[in-house]
């Protein structure tokens, strides 16, 4: 999509044009849905709806291009995902700890839950060697086509941290391969 086309759709979305929102939804909902599902969301479709509703509320404040818009929506999605994980964790263990708010990605039960629901056994195998943070980084880079800087912004980390997480994740995948655990 050219910048001009994106800008005209964005302008229309700001006026509440149905067609513009439909276009954004059709372009980005599958990626958001995939990301949320692969990262353990209990109700990915519902969260996608919440993300678009949040975007509709804040669209007039958005400034940027198509990539920026995608990154913006994924930032909202990640925040919603953390909220959902926190609610789930709270249901399971009360009282919850402070770390539940910001580091619920470390919740191994949540990870196990999503892995059990993944259709692909191979993906389960590949994910199994990655830490939750590494999965966050690699999933955003692959599913959302985000750059290192954009991924860092979504996750609230520095670009350097994301690079390190990415490299360690890639190294673990290579070690998995060297152990002969390949398809």
């Amino acid at each position: 999509m050219t910048n001009e086309v994106f800008d005209s759709i964005l302008d229309a979305a700001r006026t509440g044009a149905d067609w513009a929102w439909r276009k954004f939804y059709e372009d980005l909902a599958p990626r958001l849905n995939s990301y949320l599902r692969l990262r353990g969301a209990e109700d990915p479709e519902g969260l996608v709806g919440e993300v678009f509703l949040e975007a509709a509320r804040a669209i007039s404040s958005f400034e940027g291009d198509e990539r920026g818009f995608r990154s913006w929506l994924f930032t909202m999605a990640h925040s919603r995902l953390i909220d959902e994980r926190r609610r789930r964790t709270r249901r399971k263990t009360a009282p919850a700890d402070l770390s539940d708010l910001a580091h619920v990605a470390d919740d191994q039960d949540v990870e196990g839950e999503v892995l059990r629901h993944l259709a692909s056994e191979r993906l389960t195998q590949l994910f199994s060697v990655l830490t939750p943070d590494q999965r966050d980084v690699l999933t955003l880079r692959i599913i959302a086509d985000l750059s290192v800087a954009e991924t860092a912004a979504v996750l609230g980390k520095s670009a350097g941290s994301v690079k390190v997480l990415q490299h360690r994740g890639l190294r673990r995948l290579k070690q998995l391969e060297q152990k002969g655990v390949t398809k």
């Binding site: 509320r57 925040s79 910001a102 590949l126 999933t139 490299h167 890639l170």
Partner: protein, 264 residues
């Protein structure tokens, strides 16, 4: 031995990163089985495509839009609107005023464990400012979490917003900062208006899995053309039939901010 044979002479680190970046951009080319790094990219993208297989809509839309844009690159552009100032600040002031009232009725002793909806919270804050008792972003985050645990979402969001606005940057580190800013961001977003009908549309799209069809494609193409306002595109006909002019944009409506329940 690594199977990243396409990158001889590179260090392991560079080879891994390059294999990954190549896989992301679809440039991977291996004779044998793909390395695990490439496999992860391909597997994840296959999962993504299963959820949202391309419907061929983009090509039609972009063909229509591109034809229009090519016709007049200097077309007048729609005027951007700026978001009105958020009422977050106003609500923070209201919250601060309520905290001041709380201070006036506070006692001493259990203040350090007080939550923002409790009378002792104001005293807690005052004691912290004097260096007595725990304080800082981490305690504020703990209070936000406790309020959320108690189901007092509105107050939790307001407390997070107020804390982010008033806590020194040096204290904005780590988990507490992320937690507070995430909650504050939600508060800010939920305080903004939603264009009329968009919420219903999103709900419809979610429940119908966003199924696209020819009518949608035509509607989008027409709307892009109309919004750019350059008239009928020259050149080869676009495979989207012209339609009636778009109706005027619906007015914005403001969804009032949630009013906390008496116990909230």
């Amino acid at each position: 031995m690594s199977r990243l044979n396409g990158y001889p002479g590179m260090s392991s680190r560079n080879s891994l990163e390059k294999a990954f970046e190549d896989a992301l951009s679809g440039r991977s080319d291996f004779d044998g089985p793909a390395p695990a790094v490439v496999e992860l990219v391909e597997t994840l993208r296959a999962e993504r495509d299963l959820l949202g297989a391309p419907r061929g809509a983009d090509a039609h839309i972009l063909a229509a839009a591109s034809a229009v844009l090519d016709a007049d690159a200097s077309a007048p552009r729609a005027t951007r609107t700026r978001r009105k100032a958020s009422s977050l600040r106003r609500r923070v002031v209201v919250l601060a005023a309520s905290l001041g009232l709380a201070m006036a009725t506070a006692g001493i002793g259990l203040a350090d464990d007080a939550l923002p909806d409790e009378a002792l919270f104001g005293l807690d804050m005052a004691l912290e400012r004097m260096g007595i008792g725990d304080g800082g972003a981490s305690e504020r985050a703990a209070e936000v979490l406790e309020l959320l645990n108690q189901g007092k979402t509105g107050l939790a969001l307001a407390h997070a917003s107020a804390t982010v606005a008033t806590t020194p940057q040096s204290e904005h580190e780590g988990a507490a900062q992320q937690a507070l800013e995430a909650v504050a961001q939600r508060f800010s977003a939920e305080d903004s208006p939603v264009p009329e009908g968009v919420a219903d549309l999103i709900a419809t799209l979610v429940t119908s899995a966003g199924a696209g069809d020819g009518e949608t494609i035509a509607e989008v193409a027409r709307a892009i053309r109309d919004s750019i306002d350059v008239g009928t595109p020259p050149g080869p006909p676009v495979d989207v039939p012209p339609g009636p002019p778009s109706p005027p944009a619906p007015p914005f409506v403001t969804i009032p901010a949630p009013v906390p329940a008496p116990g909230d």
